[in-house]
Amino acid sequence: MAAPILNPITIITTQQAFAGDTTVLLMRVLGGFFIANFIGWIYGNARQSDMLRPDFVMSCRAETANRSQRSKLRLAMELFTRELRSMMPALLIGAGIAGLIQVAVPRETILLLGNNPAWSVMVMIVLAFVASICSSVDAFFALAFRGTFTTGSLVSFLTFGPMIDIKMLSLMRTTYKTKILLQVTLIVTLLAACFGLVVNYAL
């Protein structure tokens, strides 16, 4: 879960975007590291059958059972066809919804709440979910809100966005049960909000 945050490209772009303000970079890296480990700690001992969708588990088992009977190229093409069938609809629908919301929801509506230390955090989390921007450039996107939004809300935006957004949930839905995704989304939301509020009120 932390991979989109804890990689050299994201760290460098965040550092460049928020040059001179190490709080954002530091809290983003710490937040990503902490939230990923917290999720791992919670689900580390969970059984696969509790987390994965039954049809996904079945397809994996069928794949393993039939592996020895066919050539590698044929197996690769079967996998290619099957993966595309589950991934492409999820990707297109997720991207479509994200695009529609980007066009349909005026950004001014979201920005009205930017100055309040508590509301701004929630607003930026909603914006991260809606905008679905990849983590390598989201720091530049967040930079545009530096003057109008609190620093903590930017930290929440940069921590929550790479872990949870519309496109990603749509893709993860092909593998994980809805209940698990709801739980993970709730936990990441609360923890990302906590990090933002700590920056706003304690630092």
């Binding site: 460049q16 975007a17 040059a19 049809d55 079945m58 397809s59 069928a62 794949e63 059972a65 039939n66 190229l73 044929r74 093409m77 079967e78 290619f80 066809t81 099957r82 993966e83 595309l84 069938r85 589950s86 991934m87 492409m88 609809p89 297109l92 629908i93 479509g96 994200a98 695009g99 980007q102 066009v103 005026p106 950004r107 001014e108 920005l111 905008a131 679905s132 921007i133 990849c134 390598s136 450039v137 989201d138 530049f140 996107f141 930079l143 545009a144 809100f145 530096r146 003057g147 109008t148």
Partner: protein, 244 residues
């Protein structure tokens, strides 16, 4: 029943073919940069070609399903609708750039434009003369300070599309600044003071404006520094409508 199974099985491959053809078509038309930063064009095209090649191999080999299940009505119909929507959006509807509506919605010059503070002297050294400053240069300087005394009488020549501002007498000559793709596009612009501009030009029209910077004649708080145009000319949309 057979076509339903066929559609369900191959829908992913068909979607990859549609999107890949769309990417290559846009690239050949020179319009792929309307959606992604030019530095990613080759990357996208290479993977589109790879996607087409693999899809053709998959179709030619006709891999057998190892775990066929009974097909529900909503499953194959959903796949069919998605393929149809993808065809319409990727291959039928003409490609288009972001417009003044999006610029207004995302608020022109709503944030910092560069990672550091671009200095006027260093830009001037690079460009040679104020007249060569780009719209990004001016927008970057104006975002740092819009004190009219810093810009008074400096010549400006910029091109872009017209975006209305909150002031009826002022419009923006604007562009979108793209960092990665159209999703992160941020509108930037130079405010132009031209009472009655709506009688001559309409929003989204591409124009080239020459003039000088001056204080807003009515001391607007929002746009303290504006361009007083000496020459306004309608132009065609540029091949690369965005700035990077």
């Amino acid at each position: 029943m057979r076509y339903k199974q066929w559609l369900n099985k191959w829908s992913g491959v068909i979607l990859v073919l549609i999107i890949s053809i769309n990417i290559i078509w846009l690239f050949c038309e020179g319009k792929l940069n309307w959606y992604i930063h030019p530095r990613y064009e080759i990357f996208a095209v290479v993977f589109a070609v790879l996607g087409i090649c693999l899809s053709i191999v998959a179709l030619a080999m006709r891999p057998t399903e190892s775990h066929l299940h009974s097909l529900r009505r909503r499953e194959w119909m959903g796949q069919g609708v998605l393929v149809l929507v993808a065809v319409v959006f990727a291959l039928v509807i003409a490609p288009a750039t972001l417009t003044a509506i999006t610029a207004t919605q995302r608020v022109v010059n709503s944030g910092a434009l560069t990672t550091g503070s671009a200095r006027e002297s260093s830009i001037l050294k690079e460009r040679g003369d104020y007249i060569n400053f780009t719209i990004k240069d001016w927008a970057s300087l104006l975002s740092q300070s819009n004190d009219p005394s810093l810009y008074e009488h400096k010549p400006v020549k910029v091109s872009g599309f017209v975006t209305p501002s909150g002031d009826d007498d002022v419009y923006f000559v604007s562009r979108f600044l793209v960092t990665c793709c159209a999703v992160d596009a941020r509108p930037i612009g130079v405010p132009v003071y031209d009472p009655g501009w709506r009688d001559k030009i309409s929003p989204d029209q591409w124009i080239e404006v020459s003039g000088v910077f001056s204080a807003h004649p009515h001391q607007s708080q929002e746009n303290r520094t504006v361009v007083i145009p000496s020459h306004t000319q309608k132009i065609q949309q540029e091949d690369n409508p965005y700035v990077h």
